[in-house]
Symmetry: C2
Subunit: 588 residues, 2 copies
Amino acid sequence: MRLVDPLLQRGVRVYDISFWRSTPDEPLHRLGREIHYPPVIDVLDPYILLVHQGMIESLFIEDLRKRGYEVRRNTAFDSYSVCEDKSGPLQVNCRANVAQERKTILTQYLVGCDGAHSRVRKSIPDAKPLGLSQQSVWGVLDGELVTDFPDIWSKTLVYSQEHGSILIVPRERNMTRLYIELKNGPRADRSQLGQEFVMQRAREIMAPFSIQWKYIEWFGRYQVGQRVASRFCDNHLRAFLAGDASHTHSPKAAQGMNTSMHDAWNLCWKLNLAVRGLAKPALLASYEEERRKIALDLVNFDYEHANQIAGGDAEALAENFKTNVRFISGVGADYGENAINMVEPQAWVMGEAKPGCLLPPARVTRYIDSNPVDIQLDIPMLGQFRIYLLMWDVHQSRIFLDTFCQAIASSDSLISQLSAAASISYTKQPRAPAPEDIYLRPERYTAVSHLFTFALITTMPKSEIEIADLPPLLQDSRWTFYLDDLPAAGTVTATTPPIPSAAAPDVVVGRGSLCTNKWLGSLAPGEVAIVNVRPDGYVGSVGRWDASVDDVAAGEDAARWLDAYYGRFLTVPGAGVAPATTAASAAV
Amino acid sequence: MRLVDPLLQRGVRVYDISFWRSTPDEPLHRLGREIHYPPVIDVLDPYILLVHQGMIESLFIEDLRKRGYEVRRNTAFDSYSVCEDKSGPLQVNCRANVAQERKTILTQYLVGCDGAHSRVRKSIPDAKPLGLSQQSVWGVLDGELVTDFPDIWSKTLVYSQEHGSILIVPRERNMTRLYIELKNGPRADRSQLGQEFVMQRAREIMAPFSIQWKYIEWFGRYQVGQRVASRFCDNHLRAFLAGDASHTHSPKAAQGMNTSMHDAWNLCWKLNLAVRGLAKPALLASYEEERRKIALDLVNFDYEHANQIAGGDAEALAENFKTNVRFISGVGADYGENAINMVEPQAWVMGEAKPGCLLPPARVTRYIDSNPVDIQLDIPMLGQFRIYLLMWDVHQSRIFLDTFCQAIASSDSLISQLSAAASISYTKQPRAPAPEDIYLRPERYTAVSHLFTFALITTMPKSEIEIADLPPLLQDSRWTFYLDDLPAAGTVTATTPPIPSAAAPDVVVGRGSLCTNKWLGSLAPGEVAIVNVRPDGYVGSVGRWDASVDDVAAGEDAARWLDAYYGRFLTVPGAGVAPATTAASAAV
């Protein structure tokens, strides 16, 4: 008996991509096959998981329901207006139910996830959809094929010089999706581009292979219109746009739902902190900075498979594909420098933990129960920041640690003040619990603070250290004490040669690198590093200190550095404006 | 977002074991820690998964329900009798509902899973529980601890020379289970051995560590009585015993539910084939042979942790532990030679695929969609046998394969006749479907036969072979065509040094071995091997042929060998007695 995650069970995993081509001189033939996510793309799950979008949606809806929230779909947005008192609630005018009853809702924030024709977008001054459109028309067919074409279980690009291109994508329930280019399709007369026409075009492109359908579950047709809104929020940082409301593009790279979820993911933790009065304006402002860049990247990222294979040069094709695939995978969605992504002026010998980038995956051993874990996933995402302390030897760094922990626990530390404010806020408005929390134990990660989970990563062996050896703050963080003793075999990449570091002399070069070396490049024996990770899993900042000369001074400096970093975008309520809380506020 | 199997999410994974000891001269101290399943234990998931037994039960009950079967608990077994016509149904006398109404059920087979005091056992002549009892008394406490003892998240053995032993096992929902030895417990006066007494004893053993309970969810007490029934079935092979009805033993090795599930697992596929009229008596007879041996192994396997640590020699302790742990893991549950486990007289250079043993885990690439899969799990268990053909080069072995496939497809082949009979049987009485079959596609594995799934494993690269190059029978088995190109890093074990074989010259020795080499030791360039795997995942037989001299003769011989193997325990209905089918028959 081996159970698996229902999404994996109900989806299809695609590991490779296949390229085919025909010209009037050459019949259809395979140009080559590539691994879709080669090792150079450093992801934990190196495949495309194809699942019905409805499954993903129902996961979110079910999770909300378990936590006591229902998605209501009976109310249409009409317009909104800002109070005269700018800090007061927004007034949202809606029409509810079939009768289109007028209704007014007061809310502190408004997020427009209302699609390509977004009315929220139209209500935000200056938020104009900027067109970057292409005029090609594509047909989409979902159904079960009967064919002698051999590659329907890979992602496959078929290019016919004469008839156009097809993108083949395997689907669940034995189905295959075909995206079919309707070359020179007469735009004026779309009535001709019916299902039969599209099926016939597919047969022509795929010839001499035969292609028939047992059944067709869905037929669609679309004209690619790529647009990015000029603004993703209003000037008051009260109304936001996400998903198709802020960007539309070709669905062929399967980035529509993914990018939209990342929009929401980027925004929700910032809104949570804003609602709790813990955010400076810079935090909400970073939403547009970060996500508009990604939307532009996505639209500029010219996934023109037809052009790619038109040349017919298998090698150039593979090269072109590799440059695109990092972006498709999601790990290439990097943010620039801003209030939360703080790049240090010093020229560190840097590893892969870079501000504005996702925390690189690594496998470590959880000290308390010796479980091997994926460190980037082990701490549940509860809207809090993660503060990782990395060092060779905990005993050797003990004075640094004691000094650091005392400094951030003192009443004049910002970390301490923010934690106190978060504690009050989460007492008033707790995280919405789910029944499985009794198994997942989120309280293990908030014992010290609702805003920060502290974690320790050391390369020393388990036999040389006890939890009782740690300062109290880290003893209270015992579920996030990690041993960096699992050099990741097979995940080493061409871009990240394992650095033969004195820190881990027993690691065979070429077998894989330790988390410490992967994240930091290297760490000297007396050094301590801190990696701040945002609630969405992106690295916020990286600092490092030589604790071998004056470890008290280094520990104090690290605490000050931490305060300085979080002070860029967090604030203690009462120190400035009173926190805004309304019934419609977002809970993380 | 990363979902996991609900059992993993709701259970606790234990990777290590810790040993502690105190004597009047030495305070309590840690003798050492060990990895619980070191690499020498070749399992895919090298940990103990601790889950509430009710969760496992509900998985089975839910699966039955989805397939249209309800477990009824309102009928108590009383006795059964055999018809005068020995091939007729059994008459089972029951009492139903609260009113204890007498009721008679007619059934072809009867399985007594009715616990330690089994009435079915008492109804089977000669099935006597043979005592191998120990007299120690143990208390069990489940609850949430408040303690400064550091190892409650490992499996931990604590031995106090003065006060006795404790076995600590982590549990879900933050709980800890303690098994507490009640040394010299006065058997006569069990009333003294109450919860308070047991808690006090635990505190004494754990001193100087403090141990308190936030709450205790469950307290139990038991006296170990180890017994194995003298018979696991009746002489007519119509009534069977499984689980506690056939064996009882100490729960400390956590083998109770596991061994009982394996009893049922061993029996159910044999019953399915018997009900369909496809089994010779030898098949059902093998149940007692195989499972009674395991029950005796289990009872003889003296998991006496108290004695183990009494010596206090950490090295001897570790050694003793290692010899036991293979059995606990389940991979050590080996069956002897019998009708279904056919050991060849020839002295093969054998690998780890041994008749009577579980198919060793290996990772390969599924040809059709390039998915890396665990080959021992990839083919869903549908009650069918798996026939793996292994070779270097499919083109080179093509004549062997053609001859072999033609021979087993011919009407005088037993394989062919059995498949035809199975086809009739599964048309009359199909496998009970579940809604998720639409995703899992069981029909991919029964396209050729309901009784046999054929699979091909080759070390050649994907670029050199197409599905169209295979004989038709193997083209129809396209979902079980595997590329042996993933040498398993990290699963290589001390007992299985990777054999530097000419078959895979590019595999770095020490990195891991290919499936072919792991299963077979080695395979010569012109050789073809067949591994027959039983419906329960155990290897049935292994054959190999040199196809380089006379490939036609070799292919024909392989087909004859296959017929000979399956002829030992399978039969074509109509060739002998008519198949027995009743409403109460088991469906797989």
